[in-house]
Each structure stands twice: as structure tokens, then as C-alpha cells.
Symmetry: C3
Subunit: 287 residues, 3 copies
């Protein structure tokens, strides 16, 4: 065993019903048998580059060093460039399409050191059919990097400044109200906002939360479980951002939140009594 | 490679769309690189402690020795205790929240030997944010146990008798009818009951089965395939309990069965002819 | 480590919500701890032998050498035979039920060398309960083969000519129109046909495509991304067959295509202007 990297962390929008993920695993195993592949997620919605980039950014500090293989690639077969981005003085390499997917994670790793376009034909599979680059281009590149192939052997250098950036929305305080956006709704229905705890400091513990379902009172709190029944919370989540949560209920379902939904957090919030019926939007038995 | 345990069997309600499962894998790999993680299931419904406990009990005799990591944890962030339970004279350790999830599996392994509360700060990740204990508490504990950290180094001892028990419903014979409950509906629509084959002995081969869809005749039989078209069977399933089955159809869909649905098995059953239309509740093309 | 094969590629219709896949992994790990299991897919629809056989045939040339474990088995518990099929002068062995599932993949590997029926009781688990052969028969056989058990020790030889063949539909040119069938709809909604590029040669670049949604114009093209907005393409897909595609939209949803749907490709096709409204069947916001 003579591996340069021993772990490939794999993220895609392939889903698990087709053979795509398994075939990429097989290709990696055929090229670099000792490598371990860790599946980060393959449940990204088809073509959702933004969602995948955010997922990767949330995860990157917890990943084992090695190669990150990320494939969400609506532009497969076009001129978008397949790239490998070395970070952390060679501690890790991120492999994927240059469509913004990798950008936030690369930034969190201290920015790009070396970047190459994956143009080496001898490190690809097949005849260049343009529809399954995970199998033919990205997976093989990840495996060859693990085997010890140097980044520069996979293709020509690219100016790191030319990589497509990620577009991350920023929250904004307007007339004392914080205008924010949902970044992610998790399996439990918690809706992560583009809001860090300091952004909330001026607003107080009791706030109003305006969503597509109307204006509801919400409380800034430490844990999900600290919420009273039917109470909406603004909770610091597991990556340090503020999430909208109900205790053991889906905040997203109750308040009609999805990725990219706009919300406004208003100082003070409405009087509790006046909006009780609004808070309890969904009857328990509707779930 | 100097592992105390080389396998972590991992069960959760995290689903596979978010990064939760991948991040826990990564954390384990960072702490104990040689450990192999076997995913038992992550498709447990959110917060379904009962369903996860039953799944683990069904599986436990087939698992490779090592650490079982089970995280279905509606009480994360509250006072429920994170625990590690050693069983089988140290052959295996079950790690998870003390909320009943582990109880049936622990009992099937001969009961707890040593139990500790996972309170050691140095064996956790992060600053104690209270929302992702799989990543910060349970996953690291599992990995450290594999690496050879002694159970007692992970926290103080707990009296095994103080662990929360599982609540397993028992079937009951009332006036010659067996009152039972659905434990689990599998992917194929077979509905496992809290009934063992001896419980059926007095009822005969031909019985009536009362479900939310009405009373239908059913036959006690050996294999799924032995059922005639449209016939309902009570079949001994792969873990030795009695399941309601249709041949290649979903018994759950046809008979409106879900986990925790009450059913009654009646001796003798209704005359077949009288209920033919009831048996064939769902037309084939409805599936 | 003294393995005859070091990889088991695992395909089933078990889904990932129940414990079936995890238990089979555990059984393999208990028998042959060093073996790596690559999950090809477990998202096959329940009992869909045809779909699983096609998936395996699409994948087989990319798989690492070793054992292929394929379990889609509506006939479990009946007289259908559990088999192991050696191919490629022993390079690989395919293990599964003899119901046509393995046939296309075996053919692509050059046909069967030795075939045995998995009848050896000492290489099974349990007492022969007839409902979970993945755990009790197929998984153990795969693991034992990896450990070095000879094929002939797993059971008696079968005449390879007696294996159940796969039924693969063939496209047909009738009066200048190509009558074809959907083999597979992938996650992105691309609908693979039983049509190879040469089958289209006489029809020209502009064709008509008759589907359950009506007759639409379509263009034979190289890449998905080359399609104009709202244009239907016939694209050579990642395994070399022709697929119906929309650029970044689901062709299957727009044109009402599913596995086994009949379609007709007509030479020349309708005039574009006349059918514009038909092409744009689904408004963008319907997705």
C-alpha cells in the first residue's frame, strides 16, 4: 500500500436508485484498490449546485484528509472545465466541475494552492463520451491522485483566480429588521438561515419571524428541546448558523420554508396572544 | 493496526440526503482510520425510537462483533444520557442515547455488563453545541472504543438497572381471538406482528384477520410463494415472527396496515366465499 | 489476508430503509472480514428482475473483478434455483437466483464457465427459513467464494445451457419507422431506449418521436447540453445506447415515459412549427 491519499470523500446528485454511485466506486477501486470511499451524500437534488456547495462547506472541516470528489454537473458535455484544486499545502485535493460547487469549501480550506484542468486523456476512461464524467473523468482523477499521480500530470495549470466563485447570499439589516434567506432544510424540517448568532444580537430574545405562512413570534434559544410546544425557535445549529426550528416538528412544513425562501426577522415580534392561532398552523395529526 | 474493535455498525434516523451520515463516517475515520463502518440503516423515520429499537433487535444476532452506534435521539440537548453499554464480556459495545433504543438489543446480547455515561470532554468533538451528538459525542466514542480506549475512560459508571427499558407490546388471547399489533412494515409491504408461531397454534390453519380494512380470511403457511393469488397469509418471517403477507403484493397497502396498527386474529375465520370481494380489496392496477 | 476475491459488488431490490442490506454486509464481514463490499444499487423496484438485470448489464464492464451478488428474487421459497456462475476463466463469479437476473451480465462477460446450484447446507446460515436468502444463502456463498471456497464445494454442477435467459426487447424497423421501447428512466428523467446509434442512421437528424404524450419533433445530437430550450433530443448515453432527453428537464415526465413504454421514431418528423405547443408540454414551473 503506497497511497498518497487514502480517502476519497464523495458527493453527488446521482441518487442511489441508479448505478451511478456504485460504478464510480468500482472505477476508483479498480484504479486504487486500497482507497476508502466515504459517501458524504448523493441525495442532492438533480443539478442543485448551490445546495451541494453549501453541504460541502458545512462538512469540510470534519472530513478526513484526502481527495474530495464532488459531482453536480448540469453543464456536463459543455465548455465548463473539469478541475482539481489542491488546498492546505497538499493536504487535500478537491475534484469536480468548475461551476461554483467547490468554491466555498476551497475558501474554508484556506484557498487554492495549485489548480489544474483535468485534460489528460490517459487518466480518463473511455472515448470521451460526454455524459458521465463522474465515471470517466472525475472518479479516475480522484483515484489517480490517491495512487500518487501528481496534480500536474492530470492537466495544465489554471489561474486559481479564474475559478468560478460561489454565490452566497448575505443577510441584511434594513430599518431594524433582518432580511435573510433559507440556506438548507434538513431531514427534520429545521431551516438553516444565512444568519450567524451575532447578526441577531440587536434584535433581542423575542422576535417576529415573517415567512410565506405569515408573521409568527419566535424565540432565540440554545437548544431545540428548550422550545415549548408549538413555539418557534431561532436556534444555533450544528454548524454555528441560526436555524428556524420547532421542537420535534418540521419548521419547514409548518412555516412553508424551502431552500432560498426569503424570511424577515423583526425586532420585538408580535404580541404572543394575538398570534397564537397563527403559530399553530398545522394540526399535529396533519403530519 | 492495533484495534480493540474493527467494526462499527451504524444505525440512525439521519436519512441519506443530508451530510449527517457522511460526516459521522468521516469523524470515525479521522479518529480510527482502519475501522470499517457497516451502515445498518439510516432510513428510520425521524425520531422513531421504537422502530429503530425493533430494527436493531431483529439484526443484532447477525452483526459482526464490535461497536454498535445507534442514534435516534429526539431528546438531544436535554438531560437524557448518552451511554455506552458493554455486552457479551466485552465482545461488543452499544453506543447511543439512553432512551430505550438500545434496550431490546442489549437484552438479546445477554444484558449489560458495564455501562458508562459518555461524559468525558476530551473524547468529544467541539464545544458542546447540543444539536449533533452523532458527530460530537456518539461517533467519537465509538471510534475511541475501537482504538482501544477503555469504556471507563469515556465517563462514569451507571447502574445498568437504571437504563430506560424498551416498551414492547405483547399479544393477548381474549375469548379465543388473538389481539396483536403490527411491529414493522417492510419494503415489500409485509407486516410483521408481535406474534410468534406458538401463539397461533390454537387458532388453526384457517383464521380471520381483522384489520382497519375489515375482516378477511387468512391462512397460516410456510412461505410467501405458497399463497394463492389474492390470498392473505400469516407467514413465519426471516426473524421468526408472524407476518401478514400477500404473494408479491403489499399486504400493508391492501389491508391498511402500518407500524402500531392493531389487528385481531380470529379462530376459524369467515367462510371464504362470503368474503372474496373483501379479500381482493385493491385492484392490481392500483399499485 | 488470503482472499481468492477481495470485492463483492452488491445489487438488490432491498431498499435502504430496512436492515436487509446492512445485515447482508454484516454476514459477509463475519465470514470474510477483509472483503470490501461495493453497493451497486439497492433502489431497484421490488421484484423488478428486468430492471435489475439491465442495470447490471450496463455496469458490468466497470466493476472490479470479484464476486457479484445480485438479489432480486420474487420466487424466494419456491423451486427457482440459487446459483453461482463463474465467468472469465474464474476472474469473477455472479451469485443470485436463476430467474434471468444474471443472464445479460453473464453474456457480456463471455458466457458461463462453471455453474453450480447453491445447495451446500454447511455454507448457508440458519435452518433454511425461506424468506431471506440474501442473508442465508447468497451472501454467505459470496463470502465463502472470497475466502477461497471452491465453486464446486457450494453445490452440484448445473448445465449452463439450462440457466434462465434474459428477455431483452429488440427494436424493429416497420415501414420506415423504428418501433422501440424504454429500457430505463434515470434520475434525471432521461429515457434510455433499446436503440443503438446505427439503428437511427436511416432516419436522419430530424425525426418524429411518438410517445404516450403525442408526436413531437426530436433531434439526434451528441450531448444533452447541445439541445435548445424545449427541444427533445435523441442522445447517445453513457453506455452507448440512444436516450430521449431534454436539456436539464425530465424527458420522462414531459413525454410520459417509463420503463417498458413503447415509442416510435419516425423518419423526418413533423414540421417544427406545427408542433411547438406539443413539445413544450410541461411548463417549467411544474417541476
Amino acid at each position: 500500500m503506497d497511497l498518497r491519499y487514502d480517502t476519497v470523500t464523495f458527493l453527488s446528485d446521482y441518487g442511489l436508485d441508479d448505478e451511478f454511485v456504485g460504478v464510480v466506486h468500482s472505477v476508483i477501486r479498480s484504479i486504487a484498490p486500497e482507497v476508502r470511499v466515504v459517501d458524504l451524500s448523493h441525495g442532492i437534488a438533480p443539478y442543485d449546485v448551490r445546495g451541494a456547495g453549501l453541504l460541502l462547506a458545512r462538512s469540510v472541516e470534519y472530513l478526513a484528509p484526502g481527495v474530495v470528489l464532488a459531482v453536480v454537473d448540469p453543464g456536463v458535455g459543455t465548455t465548463r472545465r473539469p478541475v482539481a484544486v489542491e488546498v492546505g499545502d497538499g493536504a487535500s485535493v478537491l475534484v469536480g466541475p468548475d461551476n461554483g460547487l467547490l468554491a466555498a469549501a476551497v475558501a474554508m480550506c484556506g484557498g487554492p494552492d495549485r489548480v489544474v484542468e483535468l485534460s489528460s486523456v490517459e487518466h480518463r476512461l473511455g472515448d470521451g463520451s460526454a455524459t458521465f464524467d463522474g465515471r470517466d473523468v472525475f472518479g479516475p482523477a480522484a483515484a489517480h491522485l490517491c495512487s500518487g499521480v501528481d496534480l500536474d500530470d492530470l492537466g495544465g495549470r489554471i489561474d486559481p483566480a479564474g475559478l468560478l466563485p460561489a454565490v452566497v447570499p448575505v443577510c441584511e439589516l434594513v430599518d431594524g429588521n433582518l432580511h435573510a434567506e433559507v440556506l438548507w432544510v434538513d431531514r427534520y424540517g429545521n431551516a438553516q438561515l444565512n444568519v450567524a448568532p451575532p447578526d441577531l444580537e440587536e434584535l433581542g430574545e423575542r422576535v417576529g419571524l415573517r415567512t410565506p405562512a405569515g408573521l409568527v413570534p419566535a424565540r432565540v434559544t440554545e437548544t431545540f428541546a428548550a422550545l415549548d410546544e408549538g413555539e418557534v425557535g431561532l436556534v444555533v445549529d450544528s454548524v454555528g448558523l441560526v436555524a428556524v426550528a420547532f421542537d420535534r416538528r418540521s419548521a419547514a412544513a409548518e412555516l412553508e420554508l424551502a431552500a432560498a425562501t426569503a424570511v424577515v426577522i423583526e425586532s420585538g415580534g408580535p404580541p404572543r396572544a394575538a398570534v397564537t392561532t397563527q403559530v399553530d398552523l398545522g394540526p399535529r395529526d396533519r403530519r
